[in-house]
Amino acid sequence: MTDDEFTVYEGLAADDEDHRWAFGTGFTDPLEGVDTSVPDGVDSVALAAYCLMLGDDALVYSHRLQQWITRMPELEEETALANIALDLLGQARMLLARAGRAEGAGRGEDQLAFFRDENEFRNVRLAETVDGDFAELTGRLLIFSAWRLALFGQLTGSADPVLAAIAAKGVKELSYHREYAAEWVIRLGDGTALSHAKMQAALEVIWPAVDELFRADAVTAMLPGVAADPAMLRGEVDEVLRTVLAAAGLDRPDRPPMAAVAGKAGRDGVHTEAFGYLLAELQSVARAHPAATW
């Protein structure tokens, strides 16, 4: 065989250690070959919990975005959303793998994604909420990506080199997501009377979940120099939202924050009713066939 005849499918037919059954299957560890030893002085239990928080945000929100696929107004928006969801899923895989290694109990990304119950998930509630319409989708994507970009921007200087590397990669992706969402919010806000009204109404619906993004949590407090203080992200996110809302002719909503339950919210494993349905869809196949590989 010459180089020119080589195809990516050739490996499938070869009799070697390749266990793929089709192109695109055969997942490998996203941190294969990466030095995942926990730096001296860093609490590995807290680091695992922190990576789980950030990984869950991306996993859960990616799933919500995937639920939009086939329901978008144009093919171009389908590919945009699929790509954004894929970037977030990639971030989730690395973060869950990092959490599993730091925890040291032998749990991998699949174990963490598919075999934890609702109260073990640590994502913010903004990520799990169903979008009522396209305006809510773009508004939530703007807020989520502006917040996560601010967070990852801080984490590029993390004392954990793995977290810093995941963040540095994510910053490039999230900047692009934020830009995409901002353009849609402006297009809808500065569009027709109907699109403006729907965009404003969408922000009113989303707004109560924003405050939770900046809530202090016990895990972050245990990781000085490694984790980013959520309260420190507020200025950057507020400035981005102020700029976009001004360009879109939209008002910043004045809504009280979504209530915590006995002082607990998403980071404590307390979620909204809709989250159980999301997890059922995400986990049911893996739980029905617990020994399956793909």
Binding site: D18, L31, E32, T79, A80, L86, L89, R93, K169, E236
Partner: protein
């Protein structure tokens, strides 16, 4: 030492010529995905880096590398992932850019300079204001972005205003 160096050079040559599974007109070396080929304890260690966090081709690339190297006589091969520094489209080689353009995919502009000292500035309307992407088919500078994303994470969709043909552009990141 010289013998090891010769063997490593041969292995590097094989690894460098492995085509990318999604963009088979360019090789892993052309794309800047192949970071290093070294020897460790009798093992050949090939280091690659993903373009995007969720790039589904990374598993295929690892398989293809092992398969190609095994065919060339290297039995003990380990493929490692390097996350830092993060991949940038600036790593695509001049040869890679030429091959992409010849296949109708516009190569990327230089990536925006990352300012690690502060927040990433929000630039509204940036996707429309970026420097023009010349049409890879007819060379016309008058093109329009039709979508910020495309069939893979690393590309955006454009249309030429002159020849009216759609084409893809490798996003500059």
């Amino acid at each position: 030492m010289t013998a090891i160096r010769t063997v490593l050079a041969a292995a590097r040559d094989v690894a460098a010529r492995v085509p990318d599974p999604e963009l088979p007109m360019v090789t892993l070396a052309d794309l800047g995905i192949l970071r290093d080929v070294t020897a460790e304890d009798g093992q050949l260690v090939v280091t690659i880096t993903p373009t995007y966090s969720g790039c589904p081709a990374i598993a295929e690339i690892a398989h293809d590398l092992k398969h190609r190297l095994r065919q060339a006589g290297f039995d003990a091969v380990t493929v490692r992932t390097a996350l830092a520094p993060a991949w940038t489209s600036d790593w695509i080689t001049p040869a890679g850019r030429q091959k992409l353009a010849a296949a109708g995919i516009a190569p990327p502009h230089p990536a925006p300079v990352a300012d690690r000292q502060g927040p990433v500035p929000l630039v509204l309307g940036a996707t429309r204001r970026r420097p023009p992407v010349p049409c890879p088919r007819c060379g016309s500078p008058g093109t329009t972005q039709t979508a910020a994303f495309s069939a893979t994470a690393c590309k955006a969709l454009y249309r030429c205003d002159a020849c009216r043909e759609p084409f893809e552009y490798i996003k500059d990141i």
